[in-house]
Symmetry: C2
Subunit: 330 residues, 2 copies
Amino acid sequence: MKKIINTAQTVVRELCEGMVSAYPALLSWDEKYNIISRRERNPEKVVLISGGGSGHEPAHGGFVGRGMLDAAVCGDVFASPSIMQVYNGIVRNASKKGVLLIIKNYTGDMMNFGGGADMAVEDDGINVEKVCVNDDVAIDSVPDRRGVAGTVFVHKIAGALAEEGADLPRVKAVAQKVIDNVRSMGFALEPCTVPAKGEPTFSLGEKEIEMGIGIHGEAGVVRQTLGTAGEIADKIMDKIIADLPFKDGDEVALLVNGMGGTPLQELFILNKEARRVLDGKGIKIYRTMTGNYMTSIDMVGASLTLLRLDDELKKLLDAPADTAAWIKCG
Amino acid sequence: MKKIINTAQTVVRELCEGMVSAYPALLSWDEKYNIISRRERNPEKVVLISGGGSGHEPAHGGFVGRGMLDAAVCGDVFASPSIMQVYNGIVRNASKKGVLLIIKNYTGDMMNFGGGADMAVEDDGINVEKVCVNDDVAIDSVPDRRGVAGTVFVHKIAGALAEEGADLPRVKAVAQKVIDNVRSMGFALEPCTVPAKGEPTFSLGEKEIEMGIGIHGEAGVVRQTLGTAGEIADKIMDKIIADLPFKDGDEVALLVNGMGGTPLQELFILNKEARRVLDGKGIKIYRTMTGNYMTSIDMVGASLTLLRLDDELKKLLDAPADTAAWIKCG
C-alpha cells in the first residue's frame, strides 16, 4: 500500500482536519464526534444532515455550505458513524424548522442515522425526518439498492429549497422527488485500498472490468472483458435508462463521477460517450457535471448518474451553492 | 494499460470534445486546431491564451472563462501544440487590446508559442506579449526550471486584471509578478501511463517515492524511501520556502495539487501537514486550494505550490471566475 498518509488509524481524523482547515470561513469541525458543519448557522431554515462512512471525498464534508448541507457526520473509512455521532450531529445543528437526514441505503447507515434520529426526537423533541437514497441500478432488488453518486443531487436540490425557507414537509418531498427520479451505475478498472486493511479490496486482470461496483470497495455484480469507453457507456447507460425508464423527450442532468483514482481526461471521454447514447435516444441533457463527487478512495473507475428534471428541479439545481466541492454545472 | 478510452490516437480530440460539450454555454471548440475558447468573447479586454500539451486536465481548457483565460491551445499528450495551432489560437481570439501568452518553460512550448506569436505580429499586426512560467524548484538551475501548477495562479490573477479592462503592459506585469512570487515542487508514488505509449513512464518500488517529478511523466530528481505525509510535506515545503525565500510574516496562497490518480483524502492530509510547516515558520495562509488543477494523467502524487501575496494579488485571487475547473479558494 502506497499512500500519502501518516498512519492508517488517523486517516479520517486528519483528512477531516485537512478539509476543514482548507475552508476556514466555511466549515467548522466537531473533533469529538467528527461532524463537519457550516461555520455560519441559519436558524431560519430546515437543517440538512448527511454523512456516512469516510472514503468518499469530497463527500460529504465537501457539500456542507450555503445551498446544500448544514452538516456531515463522518464515520470511519467505509463504516457508518455511530448513533451517538448522528445524535450529536442533529442536536448541535438543529433549527426550530426541523432536520432532514439524507441517508444512503446501507444497513449500518440506516440503523445508526435512524437511531440517532429517534434519540433526538425522544430526548430533545427535535422534529426529524429522513429520506433514503437508493439510486444504484446495479442491484436488481429495489429494497437492496445502494445509495451512490445520485445522493449529491439530493443534497443540492433539497439544500436549495431549504435555503429558500421552505418547511420540512416540502424539503422532504423534493428530496424524495429527486430519489424517485435519479439512477446510477458504476464500474471499476482497479479496486481501492482501505488504509487500515492495506490490501486492494479485490483483484482484476489486465483486460477485466467490474460492472456494477459499489462505493465501498465492493466488486461489481459481473466481471467482463474491458472494452472501449463507448462500449462501457453503452452498457451502463442502457441499464440506467431502462430502469426508470428515461424516455425520448425527457430532460436530465448527467453526472460523470470519478471514483477517486481516475484521471479527468478519461471522465471527459466517458462524458462524450454518455452524451452519444442519450442523443441517440432523444433524451435531452440540461446540465452536466464531470469530476470527483462521490468516490471510493483510490478506486479507478467511474459512475454515471441520470436525474430526470422538471421545472422545479431545474431551478433548484441551478441555484447558487457555496461549498468546498460543488462545481457549477455546465 | 487500463483506461476508459476508445483508442490511444483519439484521446486528445475526444477529451476536448467531452470537456467542451459538458460546458456548452461556456466553451467553444475549434476542432481543426484544437483550441478551446470562451463562447462569449469580450473585445474590450486583453486576451489571455495558454495551453501546451494535453494530459494536465483540467488544465488548460478548464481554466477558460470569464476571469481567467480566453483560450487554451491543446497539443497532443505531453507535446506542445504546433506553431500553426498557436498562431490560429491568437488570430481567432485576439482583441484590439492585445494578447498575452502564458507559456510554461519547456523547449517545445517556448519555441512554438514564440513562433506563433511572431507570425501573428508580423502577418497580422497583432500586439502579442509573452510570459514564461518556471515555478518548479526541483530543478536547481533557474533557466531550466519547468512551469508546473503555479501556472494556475498566473491564469487566475492575470485573468482577473484583464477582466477589469487593464491594458496589456499592466496585465503582463501582474502575470510576471505572480511568476516572481510563486514556487512549486511535486512528488510521485506511482508513475503515469501515456495512452499512446501504453507503459508507465518509470517504475517504483513498494517503499519508494520520486521527489521533484515533472508534469510530463518525468521521474523525480531524487528517489527516496517513502515516509509519512508529514515527512513528505517537510521535505517539499523546506525546498520551496528556502527558494524564494518565503519568510516569517509573509502571506501566501497554498495550492495542494493532485497529479490525477491521487485520492482527495490524501490531498487533505497533505494540506494539514503543509499548514503545520507554514504555521511553524510564521507564514500566514491567506487562501488554500486542494484538488486536481494541473495533473499528469493518472500519476499518483501531488505538488505543493506557494504564492506570496500582497494586497493587489489577494484582491485579484479573490475576484470571481467562471470556468469549468476553478473552485473557490477556502
